[in-house]
Symmetry: C2
Subunit: 203 residues, 2 copies
C-alpha cells in the first residue's frame, strides 16, 4: 500500500484567512494521518495579474466586509489579529524564505510558516522586514547567514516563481487553498469539508 | 420585551449558493425563534455595477472552481443541482414576483422563494420564463392574473429597485448574505457562525 498523499496547503502570508487555516490544518491532517506540504504563492500574481481583479481590500463593499469578517472569524477560532497588523505589505521575502527553509531544513517548515504568520498577524510585526524573517529563523536554530543569502539567491527566486506558476496551472487562485487527493477546496471555511473528504473519500 | 429581530436573508435567484442557504436558513431561524425576511437583490447591480467585477463564472480560475465547488457543496448538504440548470439567466422577473408576493401574500413568501429556487436549480426549469413563475404562483393558490400584472406594475418595479439600493447602502454585495441583529455574514459557509451568533449574542 502506498502512503496516503499529503495535503497541499497553498497560502499567501498577506492573507489572514490563510493564517487562520494554517493554525487549523496541522491538527486536521494529523487526525487523518496526512502530512501538510506548505506552498506559498502570491495573491498579486493570481488575483491581480491572472484574474484581473483589484486586491480584496480595494474592492468596493467587499473590502469593508472582509476586514470586519476576518477579525470576527479569527476570534471565532480563538485567535486574535493584532490591531496594528499591517494589512498591505509585500509577502515576497517571507515566501522566498519559506522556499529556502523547505530546501534546507524541511523538518522545520511547518513551524517556520506558523511562526512567520503569527509574528505578522498575531504580534503585529512586519514580515516584509528582513530582520523579522531572520529572527524567526534564528529562533528555530537555522543558519541565519545562509537564510539571508538564500532569500537573495537567484535559484530560490526562480524556484518560487516556478512554484507560483505551477499553482496557477493547477487552478489555485485564493488563500488558503487545500488540495486533498486531487480535490481542491478554497477558503478557511472549507476545512470541515476537507475533513469530511478525508473521512469519506469524497461525495 | 420586544420580539427578537428577524434574520434578513439577501439573495439572488441566479446564485445557487443562495439556494443552498435558503434551504438551510429556515430551520436555523426556527431553532432560534426568529423569522426570516426574504430580500431578493441583483448580483449584477452589486458585483458588476458597484464593485466593477466580472460575473464570477466569467472570472479566470475562480469561475471554473466555483462551478465545481457549488455542485459539490450542494451534494454535501444532500441537495442536487440539476445538470441542465441554466447558469446564466435574468433573475429580475423572479425577484419582482417575490416583491409582489411579499406585498400580497406575505405568509407564503418563504414557500414561494424555495419553490422558485427549486424549480430552477433542482428541477432545471428556467425561472426567467414567466410561465414557470406563474406556475409556482398557481401551485401556491395565488391569484395568477394579479401576479402576472404585478410583475409588470411600475410600483413593484420601483419597489424592487429601491430594495436593491437599500441592500447596497447596507453593504450587501454577495448572495447569500444574512444580517442578524445588525451583524452581516456573507456566504452559505457562514451559516454555522450565524447560528453561533444567535446562540451567544456575538463574540
Amino acid at each position: 500500500m502506498r502512503d496516503p498523499q499529503p495535503l497541499d496547503f497553498y497560502f499567501d502570508y498577506i492573507s489572514p484567512y490563510g493564517w487562520i487555516a494554517a493554525e487549523l490544518v496541522g491538527d486536521l491532517a494529523r487526525r487523518h494521518g496526512r502530512q501538510v506540504v506548505w506552498r506559498p504563492f502570491l495573491l498579486k500574481a493570481t488575483v491581480v495579474e491572472v484574474m484581473g481583479l483589484p486586491p480584496i481590500l480595494q474592492t468596493p463593499l467587499k473590502g469593508a466586509y472582509a476586514l470586519h469578517d476576518v477579525f470576527r472569524l479569527a476570534r471565532f477560532h480563538g485567535l486574535e489579529i493584532a490591531a496594528n497588523a499591517r494589512l498591505n505589505f509585500s509577502s515576497l521575502l517571507a515566501a522566498r524564505a519559506t522556499i529556502w527553509v523547505a530546501r534546507s531544513a524541511n523538518h522545520l517548515i511547518g513551524d517556520f510558516v506558523l511562526m512567520l504568520y503569527r509574528r505578522h498577524w498575531a504580534e503585529g510585526d512586519d514580515i516584509s522586514d528582513e530582520v523579522v524573517v531572520l529572527d524567526v529563523g534564528a529562533q528555530l536554530g537555522l543558519d541565519v547567514a545562509a537564510l539571508r543569502a538564500g532569500v537573495a539567491d537567484p535559484v530560490i527566486k526562480s524556484e518560487f516563481k516556478a512554484a507560483v506558476e505551477a499553482a496557477i496551472a493547477r487552478g489555485v487562485f485564493g488563500s488558503p487553498t487545500i488540495i486533498v487527493d486531487g480535490e481542491m477546496f478554497w477558503g478557511s471555511d472549507r476545512l470541515s469539508q476537507v475533513s469530511a473528504w478525508l473521512e469519506t473519500g469524497g461525495w
